[in-house]
Amino acid sequence: MRTRSRIHRPASAPRFWIVLAAAGALFFLLPLLGLLTRTPWAALPTLLVSDVVGDALRLSLFASVSATAIASVLGLPLGWMLARVEFPGRGLVRGAVTLPLILPPVVGGAVLLFALGRRGLIGGPLAEVTGLVLPFSIWGVVIATTFVSMPFLVITVEGALRAMDRRYEDAAATLGAGPWTVMRRVTLPLIAPSLLSGVVLTWARAFGEFGATITFAGNLQGRTQTLPLAVYVALERERDAAVAISLLMVVVSLVVLVLLRDRWWRAS
């Protein structure tokens, strides 16, 4: 069980192996380099403080953080149910939850539109009763983003719960802990590393969301135009702005991933 102090000898590998690994790394590093060489450094401050970019950044952060929060609140219990409770239709539910992972996001957005649109199955009655119209609103952005990102949380949680040693929960129960105490003080702390990497993955997917958002929520600056959409629009009209926003997204993502990786990813 305690293999922490196991000693590894330095790895040695055949040369072609190292060449292939280097090619794999370059595949990711070169595009970033390309972005940097193309960046209009002098004009960068002006480009980034524009209304378009400011609106999009605010909206992107709001939508991705909201989506992560909703995904956590709903996805944690859902992942737990999928891992622990054998209920009829579990396979179907699991399939539906993981579908957005392989579905083209545009199709995801279209599906949402059919269901939640003004004339949709749920959207119609919802609009009639509350007057709330989800498509092409900021809530539409949050819903589309949640739809594509929550599966990451659910499957990480389910996997972690299946992998954990359930006897710890048994031990807690014999010590007098009820189901909620077991969950709070034993289960969640034990899966915390996986849970946090699930949250990070979810946020990362939400931050970069494009297809479902543009289909379901449209592309209205200041209301539904997130950073990826702003890049898409700028590519057509103003290359420099597109480069600037891309750079911004790269920096924000890198900062978040690097900060979290050192603290949690290693543990999982």
């Binding site: 069980m1 922490r4 006897r167 048994d170 031990a171 807690a172 129960a173 014999t174 003080r185």
Partner: protein, 367 residues
């Protein structure tokens, strides 16, 4: 502070597992005594623990602890594990890895409604009893196996249980620390006044720690008795093997027993007909030459296998009477005991245990 235990544990545990395995055991453990449930892997020991702890519901039978019925399918009564007062020391301890030693011990009192400060106070008392003060703030992975075992015991006792269940408490330890911890465990067990049930596959553990031993084989209790009973009068080949005895069948008449190809002299206790013959592995002497002197029971045979168990060597001998024989490492060197060597064996008549064979059906009645 000491919990007054009016009644011990009385249980009949019947569980039909989905893999076809059937467990049916009756247990009775009075307060202040340690009963060991001794059996090989797959005998149903873990299932028994799970049923008593409430992690598994009975299919039939009844569990009563300290005058309270915990499980009775007949009346649809089932008390959830967190409502039972059963302290469990688990196999490999299962200390919560994300909590300190103190937090682990305080977990029980805290879960049973004590405030944070009060729970820590109560945990602190057990930490001192188990002499764990110096590691109270360490995490379980920073302490030794022996210390972890004491923490597990402290954690179970801090809930002031009505029953202490020890599930293979020493199996996670290496052989040398096991011997030392067996001794300290005896002392610490005395600190608990309620009934104690020890689950183990290690006869040494059972013989040292328990007042009563129940031998569990394939879901049934095949023998109940003291360590002495099991050692001297094992009733199944399994019990005989773990007690270091040979259990054989023979036909007695007067002062001898017919073992097929060999007839042995026995104390004349008036036994006749089919009997169980038990010969302790250490009661058999090994010689290179035909032995002189008193033993009337002596015969030549061949060493078929030699097993090294450290301080003792086990020999398996061949026809006419296959036996397990124990000798010291010194004797093995002196006599050059290796597989294939021809030797003489001798047993004193008084070292042969004779018991009339149980009538069919006798073993199934359990109190």
């Amino acid at each position: 502070m000491a919990c007054v235990v009016r009644d011990g544990l009385r249980a009949r545990i019947v569980v039909h597992r989905s893999d076809g395995f059937e467990l049916d055991v009756a247990l009775s453990v009075p307060p202040g005594t340690t009963v060991a449930l001794l059996g090989p892997n797959g005998a149903g020991k873990s299932t028994t623990v799970a049923a008593l702890a409430g992690l598994l519901a009975l299919d039939d039978g009844r569990i009563e602890l300290a005058g309270v019925v915990l499980d009775d399918p007949g009346t649809h009564r089932f008390v959830a594990p967190e409502e039972r007062r059963v302290g469990v020391v688990f196999q490999d301890h299962l200390l919560f890895p994300h909590m300190s030693v103190l937090e682990n011990v305080a977990f029980g009192p805290r879960s049973r409604g004590a405030g944070r400060a009060q729970a820590r106070l109560r945990a602190g008392r057990w930490i001192r009893t188990m002499e764990l003060e110096r590691m109270a703030s360490r995490k379980p992975r920073q302490i030794s196996g022996g210390q972890a075992q004491r923490v597990a015991l402290a954690r179970a006792l801090a809930t002031e249980p009505d029953l202490l269940l020890l599930d293979e408490p020493l199996s996670a330890l290496d052989v040398t620390s096991r011997a030392a911890l067996r001794r300290t465990l005896v002392e610490h067990l005395e600190a608990f006044e309620g009934p104690r049930l020890l689950i183990t596959h290690d006869p040494l553990e059972a013989f040292h720690l328990a007042d009563q031993i129940h031998v569990l084989e394939d879901g049934r209790i095949t023998q109940k008795g003291t360590a002495e009973d099991i050692r001297m009068r094992p009733r199944t080949p399994y019990a005989a093997d773990l007690a270091g005895s040979n259990l054989l069948m023979g036909t007695a008449s007067g002062g001898s027993v017919d073992m097929g190809e060999l007839s042995l002299a026995i104390p004349d206790v008036g036994a006749s007909g089919p009997v169980r013959v038990s010969i302790r592995a250490t009661a058999v002497s090994v010689h290179r030459e035909p032995p002189g002197g008193s033993p009337r029971n002596r015969w030549p045979t061949v060493v078929e296998r030699v097993e090294d168990h450290g301080s003792r060597i086990r020999l398996l001998t061949g026809a006419p009477l296959p036996l397990m024989v124990e000798v010291t490492p010194a004797a093995r060197r002196e006599l050059h005991l290796t597989p294939g060597v021809e030797v003489w064996l001798s047993v004193k008549a008084t070292d042969i245990g004779i018991e009339p064979e149980a009538l069919p059906g006798e073993e199934t009645t359990t109190s």
